[in-house]
């Protein structure tokens, strides 16, 4: 069997705030294989961004701390690398793009300068050659007149263009894994579609793995191969995207699907999941979802014992006491070798926004 490109094992992260310690990532495990897209889904505050940042060790060290766990990338535990070694990984083997293209680029330098910086950090090339590479990167992400754009400043570009620049910058050194933290949340819907399609295309061309952080199930459906659902700092469900949509096992996932508006059907009100997301400083006891769970039925087990993430069916993990055969299911690190076939788009490139 193929080895995973990146495997996170029992990751635990704590933040020391003046309100006490909060744990945004608790016992989180997942794997991602080359060329695969893993989506981490969840509402704001569930810990998905923090777990992504921790891969590149970008969590600010006061107040954040890694309490335990391993992040194995190509055989090495990233958590044990020195800062200098980590810098070699960042931008070269693993790259990351962020949610806010407006503020994620340095306003006082041209985008050419910033892309060239990414290149010269990891490749021994002269500036002139780096500029050529930068130009090609911009062309790859579909920016017209790339040579001229190199001299532009970030504020001269639209949000969609800026995100493309971020992608170009991240991919300039051909990383094996791209972490995309809500890359389209701050963009218009049409631009969103273009960016995601761009990512799919580049992934296919380069056999690049993508860790996609999002809260949008629609994005997941279109782009993900495997999905991890996060709630209250833990992975509560993990499956292939088809499996997840066909047979969700965890009540939270079910709730998410039920609350999505459906084309065609007529309802008076949209469904919601009762209650609110718990305050990380004050998690409920036992299963963190139990105050909102329709399956609970007063079961004391749900209030007292937090269910572990178990492989309840073949290739499908969930963390809920009320899944059939839950107790007997093994606790393993979620990992799925699965890639959907990419359907090539026959339409022409829409205009760049």
């Amino acid at each position: 069997m193929q080895n995973p490109l990146l495997q996170v094992k029992n990751l635990n992260i704590a933040f020391d705030t003046d309100r006490g310690q909060i744990r945004p990532v608790r016992d989180v495990s997942w794997s991602i294989y080359p060329g695969q897209t893993l989506a981490l889904v969840g509402e704001s505050g569930c810990g998905k961004s923090v777990s992504a940042l921790s891969i590149l060790r970008l969590i600010p060290s006061p107040p954040g701390r890694v309490l335990g766990g391993e992040i194995i990338f190509e055989g090495r535990d990233l958590l044990k690398l020195s800062e200098a070694e980590m810098r070699q990984v960042r931008g070269k083997d693993i790259a990351m793009i962020f949610q806010e293209p407006m503020t994620s680029l340095n306003p006082v330098y041209t985008i050419g300068d910033q892309i060239v910086e990414a290149i010269t950090l990891h490749q021994h090339v002269k500036t002139k050659e780096a500029l050529d590479i930068a130009e090609r990167s911009l062309a790859d992400v579909g920016i017209p007149a790339p040579r001229l754009r190199l001299k532009d400043y970030p504020h001269q570009m639209s949000g969609g263009m800026r995100q493309r620049v971020m992608i170009a910058m991240a991919l300039a050194c051909k990383p094996k894994l791209l972490i995309a933290d809500e890359p389209t949340t701050a963009l218009d819907v049409t631009v969103q579609a273009q960016i995601l399609e761009l990512l799919r295309k580049l992934q296919h061309e380069r056999n690049m793995a993508i860790l996609l952080i999002t809260h949008d199930l629609g994005v997941v459906a279109e782009n993900a191969d495997t999905v991890g659902v996060m709630y209250a700092s833990r992975i509560v469900e993990y499956a292939t995207v088809e499996d997840l949509f066909d047979r969700p096992q965890h009540p939270y996932t079910e709730g998410l699907f039920r609350s999505m508006p459906r084309l065609g059907g007529k309802t008076d009100r949209l469904e919601t999941i009762a209650g609110t997301v718990p305050n990380p400083a004050r998690f409920p006891s036992g299963c963190k979802f139990h105050p909102r769970c329709p399956r609970m039925q007063g079961d004391p087990k749900c209030k007292d014992i937090e269910p572990a993430t178990r492989e309840v069916q073949s290739q499908h993990w969930a963390a809920c006491h009320h899944v059939p055969n839950f107790e007997q299911s093994p606790i393993t690190i979620p990992h799925l070798v699965h890639r959907r076939s990419v359907v090539a788009k026959a339409t022409e490139e829409p205009a760049i926004i």
Partner: protein, 322 residues
């Protein structure tokens, strides 16, 4: 960019007019009768008249309508208001020479202290702030920040007087007071410069630290880190350039502090500079000098603010295209 420069320049005009207005109103309206105030209660009318003439108080306040009526257009502007606007200051009661030569004579001494102090303070503040931001949360951060707060809380005057006594009289390392021309001035300028630097460090360091920390927490720094840029690169290439913008502003707005420093230091150390001139004028009720110094320094400050804003356009590419 030029549109911005021109706009900014045009905005200076009403400001300068406002400064003239304020100066004029202060010194000619609020002060009820400067001549009498100077001459005292027992002056005769002839003396009062002579003083009034010297203070240019016998001119009409705003505009010389009399001259206008006689058809002398140029003389219309022979009024107190325009005197100030056009830098035609009345003579001082105390000094015999015209104001401008007086200023020229006194300026070098002040410059010799203020300019080196300013440059040194700026450099040290930035370096220290960068260092402290680097070591954020560690003992260096806390101790230096603490020292800065202490430094800001001590009355500068006490430190100056105490230092003069300690280093001048007691230890004899520096001269107690006085001044000499040329190269020997260094001997006399050393302690004032040193004191100016020490007392000025605190506020700026804290402010720059805050600014730097705000930039360090910015999203683009996170992006740079994700690219693999090292901490030192981040500080000096990415953060510094963005920090320059508030630094430039605050540097210029710190200039009035120099004036204060000059006033206190020159008074205490008997340095014949502009500060001492001003302090003297205040003590001796010399309206002409106080008024003219206020006005001149304000105009200089306005010009410097204008220059700062133009520098903005150079440092921050976002400004040029607004």
């Amino acid at each position: 960019m030029w549109a911005y420069v021109i706009r900014r320049f045009l905005w200076t005009i009403p400001i300068v007019l406002g400064v003239v207005l304020i100066t004029f109103v202060l010194f000619s309206y609020v002060v009820k009768d400067p001549a009498r105030q100077y001459a005292g209660k027992f002056a005769t009318p002839e003396v009062l008249q002579a003083i009034r003439h010297k203070m240019a108080l016998d001119k009409p306040r705003w505009i010389n309508l009399g001259a206008l009526r006689h058809g002398e257009i140029a003389q219309t502007f022979d009024s107190q208001f325009f005197d100030i606007l056009l830098f035609r200051f009345p003579e001082s009661m105390r000094w015999e020479e015209p104001l401008w030569t007086l200023i020229q004579r006194k300026a070098p001494a002040s410059m010799m202290i203020q300019i080196p102090a300013f440059v040194i303070v700026l450099g040290l503040q930035l370096a220290l702030a960068l260092f402290v931001a680097f070591k954020r949360g560690k003992w260096q951060d806390y101790s230096i920040t603490f020292l800065a707060v202490l430094g800001m809380s001590v009355p500068a005057l006490s430190i100056y007087i105490a230092a003069q006594w300690l280093f001048g009289q007691k230890l004899g390392v520096f001269p107690v007071a006085g001044w000499e021309r040329g190269i020997y001035a260094i001997h006399f300028a050393a302690l004032p410069i040193l004191l100016s630097v020490i007392m000025g460090m605190g506020g700026g360091t804290r402010f720059y630290r805050t600014v730097i920390l705000e930039e360090v927490g910015a999203d683009y720094v996170r992006t740079a880190r994700a690219k693999g840029v090292g901490q030192r690169e981040i500080m000096f290439t990415h953060v510094l350039r963005n920090v320059m913008i508030p630094v430039v502003t605050s540097t210029v707005t710190a200039l009035p502090g120099l004036v204060l420093g000059a006033l206190l230091l020159e008074r205490i150390f008997q340095i014949p500079g502009l500060g001492n001139l001003m302090a003297d004028a205040i003590a001796n009720n010399d309206r002409a000098i106080v008024m003219s110094m206020t006005y001149i320094l304000s105009i200089v400050y306005c010009v410097l603010l204008l220059v700062t804003d133009i520098c903005y356009a150079l440092v921050d590419p976002r400004v040029s295209l607004k």
